[in-house]
């Protein structure tokens, strides 16, 4: 017995893990392993990211000249509608669900999610509604042209008169996406609240889990409002009820309330887990504990709370009464307090640290810089007079692309690089990673910064042709857009070749502190042979304290025996 333990304690021992990356067909199966499902989510979402990005490049190709010359105007409408819908419902939500699926059980010391089968069902709905949405390219009349908001009465026009039209399929896909998200949210929230390892109190839990829980809480209590609105819209469109159609006495503004009551908080569903990623990465690569850990953790829930009372800022120009504008302007500006807490905490974490600028850290820093810029334009947009001035212009488009691409997508890239060795058991190529970072960071700023001056000059969004005075900024933006398209190539090359040929990764290549780094790369089935007992706060960098009790009882030790 003694011999076994000595052998087990020697570092970097080759451990044969049954059915790891070589066993690729499991990624096409109805697996209930949270790690397989996590990777399934991430890969499927990335495929949709490429499709949505391809549509965006056609849009930028159209906008490189002031005339509508590349595609038909109705096709252009369909392109921006599908671009927005795919990027939100088929890329950012699923990819972040994938990260949460993969990381949450590992970070809280659980063997799997609370409901593994529900988890698999929720994932397999993603390709299903993805195909339904894509199928709208094939129906007569093409996809929905009403934008990703699907505001009535535009969304109720149904020019072909068919029951199965682009808008119908759009609503169906969004409704299925909602069901899948609710399943995921129930699962993740139950897992975090009920399955934490012994000793892991909420204030010993990594910030990523805090942020994911805050984000999924929004899904639980915001998404049903959109579902309700979507059900009513579906009846209006297909049965002929009069909920939202002003021609028959309906109230189109009520739809806007339903839509934004969820869809503004949906932005926090996207950005909160990315905040969590930042909070995980900065301490690792600056070798310092996270500054103000408890404040950063709690601020996620402050954002969740505030997110329920800000939605009308999307409707300042929708005939909203003055008192309501004032209230929602104030509540919207309040959001900057908890986000400001986070930004200061991250800067203080990096400050004076031993910074190691690997690819994950570069992406995290780039994402932080872009998020700060997006936050500043966000505060500008919260101010009613300014918002009315730039309402429905490219200023708004520039702002939210800085949030979604500049901060969220770059944060997602950072997370993928950071946990790639854990997920695949291989190291990625640092050089390709840095090239990817440079292309992405330059691309984001070249694409989205010029949208701000174009918007301030008055260029409206969602148009295929525009006044030639905006041409200069649009050419720049289009070049940036194509650069972003190119930037995915080194990423794809890096991920695929590293997964197959990359150097074998040790359990903890970044010398990071966290339960997920205590298990092998990739982690064994059911993660922990022995559930660890957590004794200290996360991010104990530079402190001489163990994360878990009795490190002798390491997982490798008993996985050999059980």
């Amino acid at each position: 017995m003694t011999e076994i333990s000595i052998e087990a304690l020697s570092p970097n021992r080759e451990q044969p893990v049954p059915g790891e990356p070589e066993n690729w067909p499991r990624f096409f199966s109805f697996s209930t392993d949270h790690k397989v499902i996590g990777i399934q989510y991430i890969v499927v979402a990335f495929v949709f990211f490429l499709i949505g990005g391809f549509l965006a490049m056609i849009i930028r190709g159209e906008l490189i000249t002031p005339e509508a010359d590349l595609v038909d105007r109705t096709v252009y409408n369909a392109l921006f509608t599908m671009h927005g819908t795919i990027m939100l419902f088929m890329w950012t939500f699923p990819v972040l669900n994938g990260l949460a699926n993969y990381l949450v059980p590992l970070q809280i010391g659980a063997r799997d999610m609370a409901f593994p089968r529900l988890n698999a069902v929720a994932f397999w709905m993603v390709p299903v509604f993805g195909v339904i949405l894509m199928a709208s390219f094939l129906v007569p009349g093409g996809p929905s042209q009403s934008g990703w908001w699907a505001y009535p009465p535009v969304s109720l026009q149904n020019p072909t008169g068919n029951l199965i039209n682009g808008q119908f399929l759009w609503i169906l896909a969004v409704a299925l996406s909602g069901i899948s998200s609710i399943m995921g949210a129930v699962n993740i929230v139950t897992t975090i609240i009920r399955m934490r390892a012994p000793g892991m109190t909420f204030f010993k839990m990594p910030v990523f889990c805090w942020a994911v829980m805050a984000a999924q809480t929004i899904q639980l209590f915001g998404l049903p409002a959109l579902t309700a609105g979507a059900v009513m819209l579906l009846f209006d469109l297909s049965v002929g009820t009069s909920f939202f159609d002003p021609a028959t006495g309906g109230d189109p503004v009520l739809y806007q309330h339903f839509f934004w009551f969820y869809s503004h908080p949906a932005v926090y569903v996207i950005i909160l887990p990315v905040f969590g990623v930042f909070s995980e990465l900065f301490p690792v690569y600056a070798r310092k504990p996270l500054f103000g850990y408890k404040f950063v953790a709690v601020s996620s829930f402050v954002i969740t709370g505030l997110s329920a009372i800000v939605w009308v800022h999307h409707m300042f120009a929708s005939g909203t009464p003055g008192w309501m504008r004032m209230l929602f302007m104030a509540s919207t500006m309040l959001i900057s307090v908890p986000t400001g807490v986070k930004i200061f905490a991250w800067v203080a974490t990096i400050w004076g640290g031993k910074i190691k600028l690997g690819t994950p850290m570069l992406f995290a820093l780039g994402g932080l810089v872009n998020f700060l810029f997006a936050g500043i334009t966000g505060i500008m947009l919260a101010a009613v007079p300014f918002d009315i001035h730039v309402n429905n212009t490219y200023f708004v488009v520039g702002h939210f692309h800085y949030v979604i691409y500049g901060a969220a997508v770059m944060g997602i890239y950072a997370a993928i690089y950071h946990w790639f060795p854990k997920m695949t058991g291989r190291m990625y190529y640092e050089g390709l990673g840095k090239l990817h970072f440079v292309l992405t960071f330059v691309g984001v700023n070249l694409n989205f910064l010029p949208m701000h001056p174009a918007g301030l000059m008055g260029m409206p969004r969602r148009v295929a042709s525009y006044d030639p005075e905006f041409a200069y900024w649009n050419v720049l933006a289009s070049l940036g857009g194509f650069l972003l398209g190119v930037s995915t190539l080194p990423f794809l090359l890096n991920m695929i070749s590293s997964w197959i040929l990359g150097e074998k990764a040790p359990a903890n290549p970044w010398r990071a502190i966290g339960l997920e780094w205590l298990v092998s790369s990739p982690p064994p089935h059911e993660n922990f042979a022995v559930i660890p007992t957590v004794v200290s706060e996360p991010y104990g960098y530079g402190k001489n304290e163990p994360l878990i009790a009795s490190p002798m009882a390491s997982t490798e030790l008993t996985s050999e025996l059980s």
């Binding site: 129930v186 399955m195 639980l220 109230d251 559930i531 025996l561 059980s562």
Partner: protein, 203 residues
């Protein structure tokens, strides 16, 4: 020293695995409560929509419609609300391990739920306005229909739980499915009370 640690860790493995099985049922109930909270927001949204429409619509009732008859729906309401007490009695019987008492009162709950659905169907048949008749028709059928769908789901779930009670030894340690179904039934009841007040009382 290492062998001591080894024994400890093996022991803890065993206890953790046992705890896993014990917790599973509680996880399910917890997850179900989370789901119900989320589901209630859909109803809340429909209620808010109803209130907004009712207070702001210029032509609320469709032409020729006077309002809703309250008597039969009120009888229906009493049946549905009392079934919440009946299902509670059924649960108590299961708790006392009296399976036949459980089945009897469980079946009575199902009968009361079915009576409610039948009463609602009869009411729908007799109405002289349809789903597409303005905001009143739309919201009326949307709310009662969506709620009726939940009642139907509840009755079907109760049927499944009743069937499972005949598997020998299945309900020896209590049954999470029964607790969840019963919770769902109370939820459907509470929603109906709000709905009844909004649609029938506040005319």
């Amino acid at each position: 020293m290492s062998s001591v640690n080894l024994d400890q860790s093996l022991n803890s493995t065993a206890t953790v695995h046992a705890a896993d099985h014990h917790d599973e049922g509680e996880h399910r109930l917890f997850g179900f409560i989370v789901f119900l909270l989320s589901e209630s927001v859909i109803f809340l949204s429909f209620f808010v929509g109803y209130i907004v429409y009712k207070t702001s619509a210029t032509d609320w009732l469709p032409a020729g419609v006077e309002g809703l008859e309250v008597r039969e729906p009120f009888i229906n309401t009493i049946v549905l609300v009392s079934s919440s007490f009946v299902i509670y009695i059924a649960e108590r019987y299961l708790h006392k391990e009296n399976l036949w008492g459980f089945r009897a009162f469980w079946l009575l709950t199902m009968a009361m739920g079915s009576f409610f659905l039948y009463g609602q169907a009869v009411e729908w048949m007799g109405l002289d306005f349809s789903f597409t008749d303005g905001l009143f028709g739309g919201t009326f059928y949307l709310l009662t229909g969506f709620h009726g769908l939940h009642v139907l789901t509840g009755v079907l779930l109760q049927g499944v739980m009743l069937g499972r009670s005949f598997i020998p030894g299945n309900y020896d340690d209590g049954e999470v499915g029964v607790a969840a179904t019963s919770l769902f039934w109370h939820f459907v009841d509470v929603i109906w009370i709000i709905l009844f007040i909004l649609i029938y009382v506040w005319q």
